[in-house]
Symmetry: C2
Subunit: 792 residues, 2 copies
């Protein structure tokens, strides 16, 4: 299976949706306005925690051009999914095992409530003839709030007697201090106490991560309308069209068959579009008005009333032998869930289980508690909990190396995993979420592909690790204003969610040998559609131009659980591969009949089927034969779930300068060496690395969502929330350390998230060299830098 036999795999194939993107053709949700479309707007709460005593909408309704005003008084949620067998629906994923309550989860949403739990929480929604009228209507809604005491940190939320964010009567809490507990996990492998007892050195520190936001270019937007037969059509910018379809149906009490969710091109998601956000309200407005309705968040709303990455405080305690072998690791995280559950029961599992297994250690404990607060809900964001853990663990491991007197690279070459090593932690955490995983899968997963050691070595070579490390020490000894540092971090992630991510693919063979490919997979801009088309083209011996990709329209494509967990190429691509293999078998069978040669002796290459060195037949003729002689519409649908989630690995290196007068950090050079299995499309894969590193550096240096003492957002847009600009980017280099992952199509693993994990700790570790002090709280703003070196 070496690359030289591939004709499209490993090639820089141009994006199948490239033409529309570069020509500015209508491609994104708001590019598709409807005739007679109304504009929807949401009234956000000014209070962090309050009960709505009354709402007077008469003033809003009286405005000409206002069609609908929805409040909790005239909107009800939909029916429960299944009264008869609630156990069938995977709420178990969101249930804390052994507890006597059920978490509020994405399945338990309601459109509008009589209580608000964060500033910006939904109070009312209007649909009007124009945005101006809609905004005027919002201003005329009179709401009387009963302000409640609020909690803004997990520390506050866990205090006995703290205000209770979710006091719904159906949520029965076992104990007072758990009233605000959203989710928690506590898993131990081996005997950490014994491990610490045999350690030569123990390091224990706390690392703090701020709340950041996806800052994707395309804001949350949806257009909902009824079609000719009264079906609800929702075009929206989502990573999860099928879940959104189901949730809209549940929320509005419709059959799923009466709802269509269309995902057009997406201007970035990064996890922020990994759950239904505004589609329910937009649909309700369309149903209530009988008119098409567009609902789009403003940047302010997107940033402060949608989702953000969990802030955490992570305590790490590690025991090590002098030679760098680890004896025990204990990691505990305190997590801010914000006002609603969203992904909080699952995101923090990754903080441990996507990071700790990267190090060889038999005695491990990982625990987290996620608490509701009166800040906007935190949710999924690129890395899905992993970047927080990577920052903590990789800074921490540098501290361990330092204590052992080892070079960080040398230490990691010693301490990290390699091919064949076991991952015992992940299955146990996974088990908490999914109790019906087969026993034999629960015990241990192995890394069947692991290029981490090579990543560390090649990345170190590329950045010039040893020389720079020495040179920077020399420079820093001589220079007082500009200090230099080099740092590194290892990283790992997953490829989809093992046993959970579900991808359907359908391939229809046209009578000239071209194919239509239907996947529920969601290309969020990453090029997923293109890579999946490559997998199909490679398997069928055709060109990507012969593959028409239909992606993510719930009316057209088979089910896919969506774009998250770096699953698109690995899981959805796996479905496409299997469907293509089934189509291929039909083609070879027909060719065998035409040629009188057993199909096992036939090869399908370059649109031609032939035995080795023998006379063949064109794919076109075989397809015509199948269509018009055999009279078969060759069309195959496959559903694919991977029982494992093989981690990609990376080593990332930052070379930087700090101006100790201004506190400003400038990353000069950045190297990512990544093992993502086989690289299917180097250009697109490198694009993922660049984007992820850029987000990682922003996370490290400047991004933070801030709130005032009353929970009111202080980050109102890109003037207040600093993402990296092109001018702030270092030299970027990417090294693909290819391995062959047997469970992935053509040996692939994921590449979408992992490169965002390492920049922050690599920078933190470089700052340690540059400044001589350790910073453990992100982001490394000039203020914090100056404070760390005693200049503020």
């Amino acid at each position: 299976m070496s690359r030289k036999h591939h004709h499209v795999i490993g090639k820089d194939i141009r994006k199948v949706d490239g033409r529309q993107l570069v020509t500015g053709a209508p491609a994104f949700t708001t590019d598709f306005p409807e005739k007679g479309m109304l504009i929807g707007k949401i009234l956000g709460s000014p209070e962090a925690h309050a009960r709505i005593r009354s709402i007077d909408t008469s003033g809003a309704r009286a405005i000409p051009g206002v069609h609908v005003v929805l409040t909790h008084e005239n909107v009800r949620g939909g029916a429960p999914w299944s009264e008869a067998r609630p156990d069938l629906f995977p709420r178990v994923a969101y249930t804390r095992a052994g507890q006597d309550y059920v978490e509020p989860s994405p399945w338990d949403f309601f459109l509008l409530d009589s209580k608000v739990r964060h500033v910006g929480d939904r109070v009312a929604a209007v649909a009007a003839e124009s945005e101006e009228i809609a905004l005027e209507a919002l201003s005329k809604i009179r709401v009387e709030y009963e302000t409640l005491p609020a909690v803004f940190t997990p520390e506050e939320a866990m205090r006995p007697g703290a205000p209770v964010v979710h006091d719904e009567p159906e949520i029965v809490r076992a104990e007072d201090s758990a009233r605000n507990l959203c989710a928690s996990v506590d898993v131990t492998l081996g005997d950490p106490a014994a491990g610490f007892a045999e350690a030569d050195a123990i390091v224990e520190e706390v690392y703090r991560l701020q709340r950041v936001q996806h800052a994707q270019m395309e804001l949350h937007a949806a257009i909902a309308r009824l079609d000719n037969e009264g079906r609800l059509i929702v075009i929206c910018t989502t990573q999860v069209p099928f879940h959104t379809r189901r949730q809209i149906a549940q929320a509005l009490g419709l059959s799923i068959g009466r709802v269509r969710v269309i995902k057009p091109r997406i201007g970035g998601g990064f996890g922020g579009k990994q759950e239904m956000m505004i589609e329910d309200l937009c649909s309700a407005l369309a149903l209530a008005s009988g008119r098409p309705v567009r609902l789009e968040l403003s940047r302010y709303e997107d940033m402060n009333a949608a989702r953000s990455r969990h802030s955490m405080a992570i305590r790490l305690k590690t025991g090590a032998k002098k030679d760098g072998m680890l004896t025990a690791i204990e990691m505990t995280a305190l997590v801010d869930a914000g006002a609603y559950g969203s992904h909080s029961p699952t995101v923090p599992t990754n903080t441990g289980n996507k990071n700790l297994p990267r190090y060889r250690c038999r005695n491990v404990r990982y625990a987290f508690d996620a608490y509701y607060t009166n800040l906007p809900p935190t949710g999924a964001m690129r890395g899905y909990g992993t970047p927080q853990g990577t920052f903590a663990l990789e800074c921490h491991m540098d501290e361990v190396a330092e204590k052992l007197g080892m070079d960080p690279v040398e230490f990691r070459l010693k301490a990290t995993v390699r091919e064949g090593d076991a991952d015992e932690l992940s299955p146990h955490i996974y088990e908490v979420k999914k109790e019906n995983v087969p026993e034999d899968e629960r015990i241990v997963w192995r890394f069947n592909s692991c290029g981490l050691q090579d990543c560390i070595r090649k990345g170190a070579d590329a950045i010039g690790w040893a020389e720079k490390r020495r040179a920077h020490d020399a420079w820093n000894a001589k220079n007082t204003r500009i200090k230099r540092g080099i740092g590194m971090a290892t990283a790992s992630q997953g490829s989809g969610v093992a046993g959970i991510d579900t991808a359907g693919a359908t391939i229809k063979l046209n009578e000239d040998g071209s194919v239509a490919l239907y996947v529920g997979a969601v290309d969020v801009g990453s090029g997923g559609d293109t890579v999946i088309a490559q997998i199909v083209a490679e398997t069928l011996g055709i060109e990507v131009a012969d593959v028409t990709v239909f992606a993510s329209d719930t009316d057209i494509t088979p089910f896919d659980s969506g774009a998250y967990a770096s699953s698109t190429t690995y899981v959805s691509g796996g479905a496409a591969l299997r469907a293509a293999e089934e189509v291929r078998a039909e083609i070879l069978g027909a060719a065998a009949e035409m040629l009188g040669v057993p199909s096992g002796e036939l090869r399908l290459e370059e649109r031609r089927i032939a035995p080795e060195g023998g006379k063949g037949v064109s794919l076109r003729d075989v397809a015509t034969f199948l269509a018009y002689q055999k009279k078969v519409q060759v069309e195959k649908t496959v559903t694919h779930v991977s029982p494992v989630s093989p981690p990609p690995f990376a080593a990332q290196f930052a070379d930087l300068e700090v101006d100790v007068e201004t506190g400003r950090v400038r990353v000069v050079d950045f190297v990512t060496a990544v093992d993502a299995g086989t690289i299917l499309n180097p250009n697109l894969a490198e694009g993922q690395v660049h984007g992820a590193v850029s987000m990682g550096i922003g996370y490290a240096l400047s991004e933070e969502l801030l709130f005032d003492a009353k929970g009111r957002p202080r980050s109102r847009g890109f003037l207040d929330y600093k993402i990296l600009k092109a001018t702030g980017m270092p030299r970027l280099r990417t090294i693909f350390v290819e391995t062959y992952e047997p469970s992935g199509p053509f040996g692939v693993k994921a590449v979408a998230e992992i490169p965002t994990n390492g920049p922050a700790p690599a920078i933190g570790n470089a700052l340690r060299q540059a400044l001589g002090v350790r910073l453990r709280d992100l982001p490394f703003t000039p203020e914090k830098v100056l404070r760390a070196i005693g200049k503020l």
Copy 2:
């Protein structure tokens, strides 16, 4: 399999597309204009037969707003389908066996030619900013024609030395008199000469059928555009979206995957939309201009430059015994193919093989010759050649009965087939078309369901045959101006084309138990989508509201050869049934797992799966279990071809009055007793009968396309071409004589065409009683009536 067990089969389910049709929502092709759309127009030839010496389009091109002018000089046809294996493509259907030439066929089209062969033949096409500009452009195209001598009847066309309509060099004719021969068939069963020799009576007459037109309400129309990625999207009113897709691709040299054909709601087709008509030119204009283009025929063009029903002269010679047993039938038809092949090689086969097998006779000969003429091409039209044969044969059989001194009803009860009888003729004619039909299928087909005898009896009872027959004779003896007559005819048709019609169906199970149904089948307004949804709902124990039908979009649905030969319910419904059965098996399998009961013991009814009398589980819960626990997207695609084409049967009865002063015929009462197997939706089936009878009466009394001596149309629209109005309709009654056809879904046969066959002969036979003379030429206009009774 009796109806009482069905919950949606046999019910008057409202049409699934009913809401949009009655509310006037955008539903038909021209309801979907595109931004920036140009208007296309075609320049038709004023000459019946001419060579184009030159075309000067400079004047047209100079008009502001004219974007494209296409002529034969700047347009080329596409590449042949398969150079390597032309035998793979079913051109054999259009090849005259044993002849040394290949017929021009729908596969061999070209966009524009340097020769015109009928008035209205395509000369040029323009696309301009408006219809006015496009028409002005047409007027500015200067064409120099070399007028050629023309032929307007088959009799002229077959004369040695006649002008040759198709003198393309690749068409090599064996003999001079065959130069204009388009297609011919000559099949003999048994020994007709011996049969005639043993006959007690022989009748021989010639019957003449005029050329008529579909007169469907919606004109031929198409809108073609390029999408964001340069694919060609064609929305058009077609009965054959997949063939149209292929033909556009071939014509324009595109991959099939680069072409999408969307069939929206259709305002009637009746066979006129059974081939690509203007979609190629519309697409060429869109490609050439880079703009969306709408091309719509005017009523004049639709009536005179599209397709029409074949005019024929049919000679029938029948030998019979005194007791009504037939000893021999010989039927020969001379057929006007018009200027192009279109469906002429196949339509006249039906004239014999859908009619002659209705009578018990061992010695049969059927032959036809179809000749090219310089009139517009004849093509498919409801009945597809059968109505011509039914008129001839049923008038003729009345004449045989009269000669034998038998009552027409009594005679037919004696002479017609019943269940289990063999159809030996059809397979032989079929064999001419399709040489690879298996040997055992060729020999004999049997009527496994035949309610003809019951149709005759029940229809006669309903119309009051015996009493009226006597009463009218008495009336006619007393009254001089208004004469009365009652007549009857039997009829038969097919259900799809055996071994040819190909239907794909895909069913996708949603996670709440609703389903999406994808069929290539084309609902031309008949309710096909609804009936297919009923088949699926019945099979899955759900309601039609739980089935969302996606029909006829080549991007979305599996292949279907299209709506013709009354195939939709029988063939496409058969595909849907099989797909539903596969989905059902998955549901039962999952329910068996959930309930711990073998799936063979489970019943699926009313959205619930349970063992007889036992505890069950809801379909919703099973679907959820499959989607989220088993993680399977249940989606099944099935292709269905029926090896047989079981005929529906009918007996039709007309009671009429003739004003012998004006010659006007008024049908007073009309009864159709029809065996179409199981009736799936009585309301929709009766709608088919009403429409078909209305067309049949118009065919009998008033409709005729006329041309002047130079081949110029004299029927310019509904002022010159008289279709029946509501005020001209008799009392209509329909009796469904249900049988169970084992090869059809739920026992169904076709009902769409058969009722249009009998009205003309029933009226002709009634006129015989009313007037005392026999009219053998359609239509029975006042002029012909008066001439027949010597008053003109």
